[in-house]
Symmetry: C2
Subunit: 401 residues, 2 copies
């Protein structure tokens, strides 16, 4: 007797792990932690310009921005700019902040024909000379943008074909600008390696990721919204990166054509205690919440021991380091939500504000996304839903609509 | 016979309108469009400092940020800073960008005892002299912060008691810093007035708001997520303001204790075409989408008529002004989503990037929020859900936990 089926069924952890191991053979991001970064570091050393301009959108900028925003205070004295949107006022305003005579342009596009990126690249040509002294290109080896770079003798860095845009932060896409900004890209990869090694050896990260993925999947119809509540403003970029990773990877039809339900939201504490928190506490129970805390901010700025006339009732905050205040705010919010008992939540603690610890967080989220994708039986790495809009746009621009 | 009930029922538009008219007598934000702005404008003229520092969180900063971000390119040469989070690295980094000797601090807190705001205010005292020459206070007339201001002979501006934080942008909370930055605050209020007058005369805005509110409420269990997809990076702040307004106002238990379901999400086009759009198109049908477009960006920067080697296939974008490109991108996305026929969406077009048009949008969203609150029979203006966390925090800080 032969039994075949096509209905969706949540598989065992072992089955999922076997599939991820197989996927590792043809999905490129799994290998990025182990790459040789010599060429990137060598090039970064040669960069003399003060203004570093990343020209890229979506996966070509979000990951870089996430790490930059987290570690901005540790960077060298260069200034990192992102040209991304086609909003004309934004473009003009951002370019006004760049010294075009002292800028390095990093053009990043996996496909090489991203319309936003090429539009702005063309526009930059009207403002300054773009040449092999002030422009490098990060793209696939056989893209049209690569042809442009080669023709103009520009330095190029490769995005491997099997590394998707939203999984590309640990390729040259992210590492090149971050190395130029003086960050320790090897330590970034060390963080990735720790997670990767642990996961594939079925050690600590394996258990964590499998458990969380299984919970998300088993409860996806009840809890269709996944909130990340980061208690540090430095994680603002990470939140945005997470939203792209989660939304674009997991917002798919599964093998039965069933539309999936996981919707990412990114919040910042304590700011969003004054905004979204009310909705979490009293709104419909359709959300899971993942808190992210920083254990040690490594700065001791402290609320001074002074009394302000009229405000003496707040003197109990005197002598409190801000790093303790923000973590106590996190703990208070976590306890308040846990006490409700019907909002699933977990807490991730980052040890320290450095390359290694953020990379651990980001790589573990990439793995989590891959594992959930396997559980719900979708292609985590494509984005067929955005093609229709692109075709309509092209028709409009070519005058056919 | 007498018939009483306490079950939730969607009321008629007439009943809702009558309730809103009644509410207008005791909820203060409805009156803000008609206020006298002389005192604010007179004070703004006297400000000589270059760095303007808003010290406030949530409703004390989000609305100001929204308008500032939209009109930044039209402001004078002063620089507007926001101190908001208790993140110690963020505080240090932001303060490093401020010339403390040439700064005006605007301390904004409705209650006057907001812990984030007072903590940072105390910390500023260790860095510079805070006095009546460089500090003004915006708060309730009888708050503890007002006592501090009066004692120190500081200029104060009032937040009326009946104006809630997230409905306070059109009070001195927003108007004071925006006037100092050179924006036309009377034109802001003119935009509010147009919406208010039209709504209360049951003209155009009345129909729009009632229809939209009714749809949201009738379908709130099916479409529990409300996405705003703004096709201009300048609306980034508006999106954040909307999230607070929507989430904190509508995330409530109704008269039957039923937890409500409306969850706000803010997206930016075209950037989020490369992120969240895939999830909208292929994800579960749990979202409504409101597109916001800017009709005329009033800038003609244009993609030049040049061909880049290798990229000739993209020459069809040549000679296209960016303002047309971004709007065609919006239209293509809208058409792609409309063609699916099962994602409710609407489009709001802002005529121009100015004070008047943004204020219209913001005031109409405040009214929409109030109307939905009446439909679902909640108190739109309180936030009881955040109190538990505040009590736990206080206990922790006072050493009781």
């Amino acid at each position: 007797m032969q039994y075949t089926k096509n209905f969706y069924q949540i598989k065992s952890n072992d089955e999922i792990f076997a599939k991820i191991q197989k996927e590792r053979e043809y999905i490129g991001y799994y290998n990025l932690p182990y790459q040789d970064t010599t060429e990137i570091k060598e090039f970064a050393k040669t960069v003399k310009q003060k203004d570093i301009v990343v020209l890229g959108i979506g996966g070509s900028s979000l990951g870089t921005y996430a790490i930059h925003k987290f570690l901005q205070h540790k960077e060298n004295d260069k200034k990192l700019h992102f040209l991304e949107s086609t909003d004309p006022i934004e473009i003009t305003y951002k370019i006004s902040k760049i010294d075009l005579q002292d800028a390095l342009f990093i053009i990043i596009s996996k496909s090489g024909t991203t319309i936003e990126t090429i539009s702005i690249l063309k526009y930059l040509h009207t403002l300054t000379d773009i040449n092999n002294k002030n422009c490098v290109v990060v793209t696939e080896n056989d893209s049209k943008l690569n042809e442009y770079a080669v023709k103009n003798n520009m330095k190029t860095f490769e995005i491997p074909k099997d590394v998707g845009g939203r999984f590309s932060v640990f390729s040259a896409v992210g590492l090149l600008p971050l190395a130029i900004m003086g960050l320790d890209i090897d330590n970034i990869l060390n963080g990735c390696k720790e997670v990767s090694n642990s996961y594939f050896a079925q050690k600590g990260f394996y258990e964590e990721i499998m458990q969380k993925a299984r919970f998300m999947v088993e409860n996806k119809n009840r809890f269709n919204i996944n909130v990340i509540f980061s208690y540090s403003s430095l994680l603002e970029g990470f939140n945005k990166w997470y939203i792209q990773l989660w939304g674009e990877s997991l917002g798919k039809k599964n093998i039965n054509g069933t539309k999936q339900a996981l919707t990412p939201i990114g919040l910042l504490g304590p700011i969003d205690q004054h905004s979204f928190l009310q909705l979490i506490v009293e709104g419909k129970r359709d959300k899971t919440v993942t808190f992210i805390k920083v254990n040690d901010f490594q700065t001791d700025i402290t609320i001074p021991d002074i009394s302000l006339y009229g405000l003496e009732e707040l003197d109990y905050i005197n002598n409190l380091p801000f790093k303790e205040l923000i973590n106590k705010q996190a703990d208070a919010t976590i306890e308040a939500i846990e006490s409700l008992r019907d909002i699933p939540c977990d807490v991730i603690t980052i040890e320290r504000v450095d390359e290694y610890n953020l990379a651990k967080l980001m790589f573990s989220y990439q793995l989590l996304t891959s594992v959930i994708g396997k559980f719900v039986q979708i292609n985590t790495y494509d984005q067929p839903g955005v093609e229709a809009g692109k075709i309509i746009l092209k028709d409009k621009l070519q005058g056919n609509l």
